[in-house]
Amino acid sequence: MSTRETENDTLYFGDVAFSSRLLTGTGKFASRDIIAPMLEASGSELITVALRRVDPDAKEKDILQYIPKSVRILPNTSGARTAEEAVRIARIAREAGCGNFIKIEVITDMKYLLPDNAGTLKATEILAKEGFIVLPYMMPDITVTKQLHDAGAAAIMPLGSPIGTNRGLEMKAMLKRIIEISKLPVVVDAGIGRPSQAAEAMEMGADAVLVNTAIATSHDPVMAGKAFALAVQAGRMARLAQMAEEKEYADASSPLTGFLRQ
């Protein structure tokens, strides 16, 4: 989705251009048939999938069959607890024909699903050298932001709050600092539960957001997808418009001088 104001406002991951700044995911949908209309309504051009052992009793088609060919696939390495496991998943995904994009997730903390930045950095170094377009899910950290840049990441994906919590931008203070210093696109990933939170991330200067749970588990994922797209667009336009600073005291919008008390 783009409007006249943002039609040339292109986002790049590596050398691949995107006009939508809303990344989506395929997890948790009550019906997979909703994914295509959700993508249509949201305009999202990049969507995550995961790789798992096949369950012989589940006779469903694989998830790729539900994603229109015009939308690019971003396989994740969920389930990886080490850099080596993430690298293995990435190679399998590419070999399976999913393209060069990979979202690195290296997670050992099963309670909050917070990323292991050291393992994430190591996997990024290896996969970037192998020609992947690497989007690492990371704990917001200034030093790691720079290290991921040097390791060849195509973007960084700091979390707003833990995966699936809908708690929004709990990491706001650190996200602001990362956005300020990052030379790579910043995609706020995880925890965004409402369009207003997505808009806030974009107003802060995030280059994009990734929203899965909030769309997939809403009562109407198609409408939720559109709502997030509009919020991302509004937030981006507000950022480009360079909104004025907050002030402590009132600053009259109407002339106070007048004719009542001369």
């Binding site: 395929t26 948790k28 999938v49 096949v54 998830i63 069959q65 995904a93 749970t213």
Partner: protein
């Protein structure tokens, strides 16, 4: 012959990887296969013979965020 298929020991008399995948009821069109942690391209499945004790992983893409 016994192989380890997705972590479980199972018997198979299939002469190659493709035949085993069909024998076990998986959909060859959507499955990704690793034998002994080496990814085997779909075009090589029929040329890939299985041996006693081989570890086979069958994977596919699922929903995820």
């Amino acid at each position: 012959m016994h192989i380890i298929l997705n972590g479980e020991q199972t018997a198979s008399n299939s002469p190659n990887l493709h035949a085993m995948i069909v024998e076990k009821g998986f959909d060859p069109d959507t499955v990704i296969a690793e034998v002994n942690f080496q990814l085997i391209k779909k075009t090589d499945w029929e040329q890939t013979s299985l041996h006693e004790g081989d570890t086979v992983e069958l994977l596919s893409f699922v929903g995820g965020g």
